[in-house]
């Protein structure tokens, strides 16, 4: 995910100085992201150079300069929002390739495939647990309440993991039947 669009997005809702950008990002992600302030300033400079953000008002105390999205910046951000992800489904995890390669062998070793799937299943179960624990850890905070962006993100994570587990169960069922 691009930091460029993330920062631009924050600056479409009003002027912020670099430190506030860092703070807002960290708040959205419940402090799980330690954003380097240097990267923020660097990105603000690039966005300004590209005409997507501009300085707002005069430098405040301690020389802090606020930035806000330009018309061009808003247009670019809106365009990005309005364009859904259209690339083909991406199955990024290695388990798919592992199963594929094992199944393609001249004499596929079903027991081995089942073992590989079993190990992955354990990892997915633990992942569900970790997501639930993470979610519980932030639930008391303002950014982690039910319906908050962060809660929705954890929900997405859990549903994706559930789908992976269902796929593994389907594989196991089909392989055991043969």
């Amino acid at each position: 995910m691009s930091l460029r669009l993330g920062i631009l997005g924050l600056l479409t809702s009003g002027p912020l100085h670099g430190y506030e950008v860092k703070q807002q990002f960290e708040e959205i992600l419940a402090g799980t992201w330690d954003l380097n302030i240097g990267s923020v300033y660097q990105m603000l400079q690039r966005l300004e150079r590209d005409g997507l953000v501009q300085p707002s008002g005069s430098r405040g105390d301690r020389g802090r300069q606020e930035f806000v999205a330009t018309e061009e910046g808003r247009r670019l951000f809106d365009e990005w929002l309005d364009n859904p992800d259209k690339q083909p489904e991406l199955l990024r995890e290695e388990i798919y390739v592992k199963v594929l390669l094992l199944a393609l062998q001249r004499e596929p070793d079903t027991a081995r495939i089942l073992k590989v799937l079993d190990n992955q299943r354990h990892a997915y179960l633990q992942r569900l647990r970790d997501l639930a624990d993470q979610e519980r850890a932030v639930q008391g905070t303002s950014s982690g309440q039910t319906g908050s962006p962060l809660a929705l993100l954890f929900q997405a994570g859990r549903l994706h993991t559930e789908a992976s587990l269902k796929w593994i169960d389907a594989c196991v069922e089909q392989l055991s039947r043969n």
Partner: protein, 246 residues
């Protein structure tokens, strides 16, 4: 080791001499204080397993010992006592008695266990209060929401301070929020030392609350996984924003 449930090579046929096994050679122990979740597709034997632990059913072969009682060999009266005092049940559809008030519903297991009415009433009120449902005491089940009904059912399950709480799809008929409240209550009981066995088809629910996931397939124990609390994988990791921030 202090096992509350011991199963050794347990099988249960669907019907006597049917030859078709609902459970097929299950061996497992559940320790006191565990939160175990039993998962598997429908027909995998989850409910049969729970019924054996509850003493509602007996094994065709093998040994089932729950709270020190041999479920296969115990007399009917010993099993009935086990069901009344040893275990607390929570069901998907609550199973409250519609003609009784909430308070009376919660009192039922205590009175069945021989507790005098006055004492049963005091205990029921206390239990409802602990679950934040004291204000529901005089109402009838039909006037309650699903979440409130399940809270009452939990109070009923706990009134005899059972060693074991058995929950069969306890959130199946609830909306997300009420379901979460009920699961949080079960988790709270477990933290207080209660052994909980949850049966569910919802793997998310199982892994979010259970410390141990027992997977059944075709009547067999296909997997037994213990989960740890390791707090890895943050919100930022989920959307792949970590690397760029550093």
């Amino acid at each position: 080791m202090n096992a509350i449930v011991v199963m050794q090579n347990v099988s249960r046929l669907f019907a006597e001499n049917s030859g078709v096994a609902a459970l097929d050679g299950i061996s497992l122990d559940i320790e006191r204080g565990e939160f175990a979740a039993v998962v598997g597709p429908s027909g995998s034997g989850k409910s049969t397993l729970l019924n054996l632990i509850a003493g509602l059913d007996r094994p065709t072969s093998g040994r089932v010992e729950v709270c020190g009682i041999d479920v296969g060999g115990a007399s009917e009266s010993a099993l009935a006592k086990h069901r009344r005092k040893g275990v607390g049940f929570v069901f998907q559809f609550f199973n409250l008695i519609e003609s009784l008030t909430v308070l009376e519903n919660v009192m039922v297991p205590a009175e069945l266990a021989g507790v005098r009415r006055g004492k049963a009433k005091a205990r029921a009120l206390e239990q409802l209060d602990e679950l934040g449902a004291a204000e529901l005491a005089r109402r009838y089940p039909e006037t309650l929401s699903g979440g409130q009904r399940q809270r009452v059912a939990l109070a009923r399950a706990l009134i005899n301070a059972p060693d074991l709480v058995l929950a069969d799809e306890p959130t199946g008929a609830l909306d997300t929020r009420s379901g979460k409240n009920v699961m949080d209550l079960l988790a709270g009981m477990n933290e207080a030392g209660q052994t909980v066995v949850l049966v569910t088809h919802d793997i998310k629910l199982a892994a979010s609350y259970g410390r141990r996931i027992l997977t059944l397939r075709d009547g067999r124990l296909a997997d037994d996984t213990r989960l740890s609390v390791q707090r890895t994988g943050t919100a930022a990791d989920l959307i792949g924003w970590t690397a760029e921030g550093r």
